[in-house]
């Protein structure tokens, strides 16, 4: 089972890197989702997949009997999923706004920030009412 998971993580990571190398931002997002899941699966596998039994200590024993899954990586995954979800929602909105403003999802055509022309949005009025 662990070997299977390891191979699966490898395949997912490879596919996600392939997608993230694309210039198209949409493909990049798919790559990002896949990579996030690959990493979560990796964390899950690291905590052992040895047992389906609940992690309960029997009445006479002082600790868990041998094949048990480590609960900590699962807690880490939960945190990572929550953070990953927040990042992903932000990325979706950001890319959508970038598409609206720049008219493209091809990163190669996004050259506004590094072009020589002085591209600065008109600033809004400063708080103390002075000239900009």
């Amino acid at each position: 089972m662990q070997t299977l998971c390891a191979v699966l993580v490898g395949i997912m990571a490879a596919a996600s890197i392939y997608l993230m190398l694309e210039r198209n931002l949409i493909r990049f997002i798919f790559g990002l989702v896949l990579a996030g899941n690959a990493v979560n699966l990796l964390l899950f596998t690291v905590g052992r997949l040895a047992s389906q039994r609940p992690p309960l200590i029997p009445e006479q024993a002082a600790q868990l009997p041998a094949p048990f899954a480590n609960a900590l990586p699962q807690a880490l995954i939960l945190t990572a999923i929550v953070i990953g979800f927040a990042l992903l929602s932000f990325v979706f909105v950001l890319f959508y706004r970038a598409y609206q403003a720049l008219g493209t999802v091809d990163t190669e055509l996004m050259q506004v920030a590094e072009s020589d022309a002085d591209q600065h949005s008109p600033q809004t009025q400063p708080m103390d009412g002075g000239p900009v």
Binding site: M20, L25, F28, L32, A35, G36, V39, L42, L43, V46, G47, L72, P73, L76, T79, A80, I83, A86, L87, F90, V91, L94, F95, R97, A98, A101, L102, T107, M110, Q111, V112, A113, E114, D116, D118, Q119, H120, S121, Q123, T124, Q125, P126, M127, D128, G130, P131, V132
Partner: protein, 500 residues
Amino acid sequence: MSELLILPIILPMAAGAVAVFVRKNPGQSHMLALAGAGLHTVAAGLLLHQVHLSGIFATQIGNWPAPFGITLVADRLSAVMVMLTAVINLAVTAYSRTDIGVELVRRGHYCLLQILVAGICGAFLTGDMFNLYVWFEVMLMASFGLLVLGQSRSQLDGGVKYVIINLVATLLFITGIGLLYGLTGTLNMADLSEKIPLIADRGMKTALASLFLAAFGIKAALFPLFFWLPAAYHTPPVSVSAIFSGLLTKVGIYALIRLFTLVFAGDLAWMIYLLPVLAALTMITGVLGAAAQNEFRRILSFHIISQVGYMVLGLSLQTRLALAGTIFYLVHHIIVKANLFLISGVIKQLQGSFELAQLGGIYRNNGWIAALFFIPAFSLAGFPPLSGFWAKMILIRASLDVHQYWLAFVAAVVGLLTVYSMTKIWAEVFWKPSPRENVAADPLPVGHPTAWMLAPVAALTTLTIVIGLGAEVVFQFAIQAAEELIHPAQYIQAVLGDRL
């Protein structure tokens, strides 16, 4: 004592939360942020004082004993980084009164700024790898927001690149954490420092160190992972650029220092050979990139990269003097670099542009602003007796001590090329007659820098001079901090207690 470790994180968090409610009122928002930044500076000062008096101390969150719970720990390096964060935050918050428009405040500029500061301080104070990841994320989310809050075309463009590369770094980081836990069964840095030498699998350790090096290298803008920085740092408002340039890459440097002096201290393997080369290439590409630029803030952005090279140079040598040099450099660089960005904003206010070709005549018309630029710029370039001179001298001396003559040579040449860039700005912006003087009738779309802008610039400039003149005090502090890094036993004992 443990409150001192929590306050620098809690205070900006709380200020950020309150800022959400008053964001519709820009004046109140600014006052709140300023009060928060002031309190934060006091808290950071107390922390630094305490650490300097009584050495490293730690606290376990929720009383879960280390290595099981989350540890917050402050040694001299952490404490001084928190102090610098607070100082820059205070300066930038004051400056933002003029710099940040009403619309940006309504969109939550000050909430994000406070959360950013909380994330940075959390990253400096944590003693746990996963907790470090969480603080990195807090910091990243806030910085994403601050970067694109204005929603201009260039900000969205720069933001996309910044976000993409940082997400990749995050994934590398969390992968490293997963494997590290699988290998050692712990994520507490002090505990890792003891457990990693016991692991026999050298290949796995090298792979892990490489994963972390790549993740933190992206954050720190190391060669060849720095391309996001000059693409993004010049797009947000000046005060945001200033806090980014002063602090964000330095969190990456700090993480690298912790990684290679604590976590992987006993097992550096081939990193010993790789790090000096990376440092040299970072210095050279950064300074050459800057030479090719003609926009004020883009020149400064490229110089961040070359300066990061100096700091990694000190780390790569792994001697006490070299680490002291890195710490001195951090102190010097954060203040000077943030200040230079703020000054670029003052000049924009005066003449309405960041392009060198459209600027000129500041020396003739506003001589004292020229003086405010002159001091940090030539401190950056390493002129005695300013702070940058001492920082560079310590690092070059440290390279000579371990017979790395080529590194000393590279550091000296890059220093000279920095002078070239600063001279270029000086000649174009300050000496050259203003291109507008020929067209006398041209109504200038410009204003005068307010006291809110000039006070922080003057304060940071004074601080640069004080560090330069009082270099001995800072150096002694840096040596003590480096001593703690070279011999992590004290740190480990502070975290894990007296169980040895």
